[in-house]
Subunit: 347 residues, 2 copies
């Protein structure tokens, strides 16, 4: 019955091509905007009947809250800033996958930036992410420019630094001790009876963790009275191809080694490929050990002996810890997700 004259403000339904707002929902459900807002955010007490009415109106209009408005009003947003060094290496997508897994069922969304291992780029990304007043920022490692560190510390946003735990975090660190992982590699190889151990690595100027593993490896060896008898580092970032080339170079130089420790699995798989192509028996002619525990290593004709870094768990754990405590705590916290040796058939 709306024949009794034109109603004064019948804009309870938005005109076509106009996106419905809280106000539309409120009018249709005959409650205040604030009540609708509280229903949506599930905040404060709501009478069951009211909730029903509001939800019906939301469905009827196909209302979707405007996040920008919400963020502005509450000066915080359901965004998780995620800063990754690279997307070329499967390791970081796996961390992202963990982050995403931890976000399922929440209304948070990851907003990403890729640094290409440049601290200056990281700084720019941090500043542009902070402009969204995100709930948290997740980045990698402990190395940041001074300005970046100041921004991170100065913001009230929660900060997670992933992968590494060998230093003091700003707020939260989740990862593993790469130094310890390196030592574990040394111990494993020595236990297996190898004594002439070589190192094959990639350019680590921007990869602190690879260097930490290298240092751990050296320490581990020296604890048993050994040391590296040969080493080769490429000038390129890690890749399977570089690994293949690097091992070939090391052996071509006449290195007399019975085992090669690689900076990571990509490199080690490349090394394995070289051995196959060159007819070098593994592990009897040469033992190989990697780091990461990538799937590809486990599908080789002989599964690669390596160290499992729980990338997925790192991402997921970080998100869970961050969401658990929205406010930055007084004390920084470190979560060790550990590592484990994968006893393959190559070392």
């Amino acid at each position: 019955m709306d024949g009794e004259g034109r109603s004064i403000a019948d804009d309870s339904v938005p005109s076509a091509a106009e996106t419905p707002t809280l106000a539309h929902v409120a009018r249709l459900a005959k409650v205040s905007e604030n009540t609708v807002s509280r229903v949506i955010r599930n905040k404060g007490p709501i009478a069951p009947e009211t909730r029903l009415r509001v939800n019906a109106a939301i469905d009827a209009l196909g209302y979707v809250p405007n996040r920008a408005a919400g963020s502005l009003a509450s000066s915080s947003s359901p965004i998780i800033g995620v800063i990754l060094p690279s997307l070329s290496n499967i390791v970081f997508p796996e961390v992202l996958r963990g982050i995403n897994a931890g976000l399922i069922g929440t209304s948070y969304r990851p907003m990403i930036g890729v640094t290409d291992y440049s601290l200056e780029t990281e700084q720019d990304i941090i500043s542009s992410l902070l402009a969204w007043h995100p709930a948290a920022i997740i980045t990698t490692g402990f190395e940041h420019t001074t300005a970046a560190r100041r921004m991170l510390e100065g913001s009230r946003v929660r900060i997670a630094e992933l992968m590494d735990i060998d230093d003091r975090p700003i707020d939260l660190a989740v990862g593993l001790s790469h130094r310890e992982a390196g030592r574990a590699m040394a111990r494993h190889l020595v236990q297996r009876g190898y004594s002439r151990i070589g190192y094959v690595g990639h350019d680590w100027t921007a990869d602190r963790r690879a260097r930490l593993r290298y240092e751990g490896l050296c320490e581990g060896l020296s604890e048993t009275g050994l040391s590296l008898v040969a080493e080769y580092r490429t000038e390129a970032p890690s890749s399977t191809l570089e690994g293949r080339r690097a091992l070939a170079s090391l052996l071509a130089d006449g290195a007399a080694i019975d085992a090669a420790a690689f900076s990571n699995d990509d490199m080690a798989v490349g090394g394995f490929m070289h051995c196959m192509a060159a007819g070098m028996p593994v592990p009897d002619g040469l033992a190989l050990m990697g780091f990461n525990g990538l799937e590809i290593g486990q599908v080789l004709p002989k599964p690669l002996t390596t160290v499992l870094s729980n990338r997925f768990a790192i991402g997921k754990t970080a998100i869970e810890a961050l969401l658990e405590t929205p406010q930055r705590p007084q004390e920084a916290r470190i979560i060790d997700t550990g590592f484990s040796i994968i006893e393959g058939a190559t070392a």
Copy 2:
């Protein structure tokens, strides 16, 4: 000299722990907020001297614009919604890498969602991304729920559907014809003299493109009077391990084939591993052909014969095309990024 009494409103500098706003910058630079806004967005005429003064104030305060406020006021935001089916497969991170590359130098940021190949999940993600009024939404393929399609079409946001071009896009499609790629595989194998060709694939209920390649393969073969002599599809998603198992199963069933066409490189690399472990010579005992052109395939002792899908280019091209035209055009557009055969040593 600020000793001459307390100034009435000297809040040109924000009090500590208060983030500076446009208003602070404006006061410090002695211009209106709007002028600062125009300097920042580089919009409208600004006197060089004013620009300098404003930029100095911005630097002095370390001002960072509040994106939520900007988005609310302009009802659009520098966000690119990116919806990916999965992060487990390196293919999609590579697309994301392309997207990211196309975004460098702009202030757009990707906000991501992962569907795990579920159309319902895609629909939820679309709705939650639209809540940000993004500049564009990039998703995969042409299959969407009815509601999702309606949301995409109804929004004024630009939409790109990636990977596939074998159908009609909503707005923009960037990718390659998987059907044609399948035909090309058939032609290549036939040209090389193989005639007893088998197919090894993964579960494609959610992977339309794998099915299209399969169909193209069959069509290509039948054009030369041939057809598949054996095929095996796993019930699991594609992986190297599944590929290895699948080829083993197919051969164990006694299939008399001289070449195996795989649904993708992951599967093909797994197949290669099986051959190595089983002592089957490649390609003389069995030829192998994949699809994608992943790095790992090219590092095998014999580089894998495969089809290069330009994942990185797909992402980058899509972004470039989207940013070039902020408004959705009348006519939907298709960009074919093509494919090419990688002549490896396995087929």
